[in-house]
């Protein structure tokens, strides 16, 4: 196993910059997820690490070697593809043996390793089948087996679960996590599904528009998103973002909504707003940090329920506030009707405030 360092990595296609000065350090044995919407540069970044795409500028280090100019085969990596990329004309056994044959291992050793991998992944009885005779989950497992049979320095995974149905995806998610724990493998995992990233990764790199937005543990990214993009991308349902205006009334800073309501701020939040360079502020709150009241309480804001979505153990209420939709979760015992007048109370300690112009999180100090 080995660590991976990306130094100021850039990939351009003509005038288009697919990857913009991305710098990342992935520690030995760490599971890092590259996450972002399609076209954010995450797959390109992975292909750069794999050597399938050439680097425009910057540096890639695997272990202690700069691998920029090495062929994929010389980088000591293994990759699992979204469509698995199993060799269709080869049996499962030969698929697993291929990377070993290419490295000219003696055939008795190949046989031993292939059978060991098959045993670990519980597919000994499938060895003679062709890929097309396997289910999606089994193909997935063969792809994983072909990666681990060689014991590479780094595993690269490009959306390995997105072709599976929802149930199997959850199951394979825990299998891959288990696989990482058992092998202490260094894994770079690309996904557009923030839930996969949050549940599996030690650290996640959120990307957008070719830029690295934030690189931290899932808990940190969830609790302290650096900007509005990360805030809205991580977490489901997405964080509600309400545009408001910062002002001062009777010496105290307040937020004023489009409907004219006022929200008093805690000293900590007031400090953040005071440091802002603009009056345009965006208030962010996750559904679980907003309380719904049926009558006005001090510090609450009036709103009107728009839709109500019961999911069983939790009911989501959407309300319009200052031109934005706010998501609130309530216990299923609370009955809310569409168009009903409600009052929302924000948890000041878990509230997020963003600069309305730069979209960056406001800092208290």
């Amino acid at each position: 196993m080995a660590h991976v360092v990306l130094n100021d990595l850039v990939k351009t296609y003509g005038a288009f910059k697919a990857v913009n000065n991305v710098s990342l350090t992935i520690n030995d044995g760490e599971f890092v997820a590259l996450v972002g919407p399609s076209g954010c540069g995450k797959t390109t970044t992975l292909n750069l690490v794999a050597g399938l795409t050439s680097v425009s500028s910057g540096e890639i280090v695997i272990g202690d070697r700069v691998v920029n100019d090495l062929d994929p085969k010389d980088r000591d990596i293994a990759m699992v593809f979204q469509n698995y990329a199993l060799y269709p004309q080869k049996s499962v056994y030969k698929n697993l043996a291929f990377p070993l044959q290419m490295r000219k291992l003696p055939s008795d050793e190949i046989d031993k390793k292939v059978r060991e991998a098959a045993r670990v992944l519980d597919m000994t009885q499938l060895l003679e089948r062709k890929p097309r005779e396997l289910s999606g989950g089994q193909q997935q497992r063969v792809a994983l087996g072909r990666a681990l049979v060689r014991d590479p320095a780094v595993f690269l995974m490009d959306e390995p679960l997105s072709n599976l149905d929802a149930k199997l995806r959850v199951q394979m998610r825990s299998e891959i996590k288990r696989f990482h724990q058992d092998l202490k493998a260094t894994i770079i995992y690309v996904t557009h599904d923030q839930l996969e990233a949050v549940t599996m990764a030690d650290r996640m790199a959120v990307m957008s528009g070719g830029y690295l937005q934030q690189y931290d543990t899932p808990a940190q990214v969830f609790a302290h998103p650096v900007n509005m993009f990360v805030a809205s991308f991580i977490g489901s349902p997405a964080m509600s973002l309400v545009p408001v205006e910062a002002s001062t009334e009777e010496g105290a800073p307040v937020l004023i909504g489009a409907e004219g309501w006022r929200l008093q701020l805690s000293p900590h939040n007031a400090q953040k707003v005071a440091k802002a360079k603009t009056k345009k502020v965006v208030l962010g709150a996750r559904h679980s940090t907003i309380k719904l009241h049926k009558s006005a309480v001090p510090g609450s804001i009036p709103a009107r329920a728009y839709t109500v979505e019961p999911t069983g153990d939790i009911t989501f209420v959407q309300a319009f506030l200052s031109g934005a939709i706010v998501n609130v979760s309530v216990p299923p015992t609370v009955a809310v009707a569409p168009d009903e007048q409600i009052w929302l109370e924000f948890d000041q300690d878990r509230m997020h405030l963003f600069d309305g112009e730069t979209e960056m999180a406001l800092q208290a100090s």
Binding site: A50, D71, K73, I77, M79, N83, A85, Y87, P99, M102
Partner: protein, 296 residues
């Protein structure tokens, strides 16, 4: 009410009758087409086992009174001049067609792969330029190509034919194979390269075996094209010992009196390699032509 039940009850049967009508006219049409293509060949075969006299009779003998393999014996006998010439022509055709086929595959496979996988300046222009030759009737190029061949000293050589047939066969071969390579996910090669193969190994070990049906179809197409070609062979070659079968047969049997059984026997033997090749490999051929028609 009665009228309604009536129509409801009658509809299925009337619809079935309609389908049957179409089905039967379709069958009749297909039988007609089958006869249209097969009967001349049957007649060729029957004539080839007649004597010269029986072949000229009218009304014709539908089945020869005295079937004979004399024409075949004559053609395949290296002792007499007819047999010598025929075997010579056969060998010439085989040589020209095989060489064309091998070269065509050698050129078309990497060319199609490059068109499919790489981006390079002028890619689209080149790709359509490849088709330019096929937009004109072959005869148009007869005289220019003859002048060209004379200039480079290839008239009266089999090389002139191989070169010409390549220019005819390659465009379709490249297009056909490119479709094949487009359908092979690029991730397979990427996986192979990560698994330890060079780009070339990934191509030879993973991509080539997957495109075998396409390569076989391409080969059959080139072979048949070269095997049957007449007008260029007729123009470029004048020495008797170099002639290919289509020209050879035609010249050979019209020199004195037309020996119809001999001509038919020669024609039959000429069609044998193509038919055998096609029967052996037809499943690849069909697969190649329908590849990509439906998503797997």
């Amino acid at each position: 009410m009665t009228a309604m039940t009536d129509t409801v009850a009658r509809r299925p049967s009337s619809r079935r009758r309609q389908i049957d009508g179409w089905r039967w006219s379709g069958r009749i049409f297909l039988v007609f087409m089958l006869l249209y293509t097969a009967l001349p060949m049957v007649w060729m075969l029957i004539t080839s086992i007649k004597s010269g006299f029986a072949a000229m009779q009218f009304p014709p003998q539908w089945w020869p009174d005295q079937p004979t393999l004399a024409s075949y014996e004559k053609l395949l006998d290296p002792q007499n001049s007819v047999g010598q010439d025929f075997l010579h022509f056969f060998w010439n055709s085989l040589f020209v067609s095989t060489t064309t086929t091998i070269l065509s595959v050698i050129v078309a496979v990497p060319a199609a792969y490059a068109f499919s996988r790489f981006t390079f300046p002028g890619r689209n222009f080149l790709f359509f330029a490849v088709l330019l030759r096929n937009m004109f009737p072959a005869v148009i190029f007869l005289v220019p190509l003859f002048i060209l061949m004379r200039a480079i000293g290839l008239v009266n050589t089999h090389g002139s034919l191989v070169l010409t047939y390549l220019t005819f066969g390659l465009p379709l071969a490249i297009w056909l194979l490119k479709g094949f390579y487009d359908n092979i996910p690029v991730q397979l090669e990427q996986a192979a390269r990560i698994d330890g193969a060079t780009r070339f190994q990934a191509f030879v070990l993973i991509v080539m075996p997957l495109s075998t049906p396409g390569i076989i179809a391409t080969a059959i197409y080139s072979f048949i094209g070269a095997w049957n070609e007449y007008i260029y062979a007729y123009t470029f070659l004048s020495k008797n010992e170099q002639l290919t079968l289509p020209v050879g047969i035609q010249r050979f049997f019209s020199e004195n009196t037309t020996d119809f059984p001999g001509l038919m026997a020669a024609s039959f033997m000429m069609s044998v390699p193509v038919v055998v090749l096609f029967l052996l490999l037809q499943r690849y051929f069909v697969r190649a032509l329908t590849e990509g028609a439906v998503k797997h």
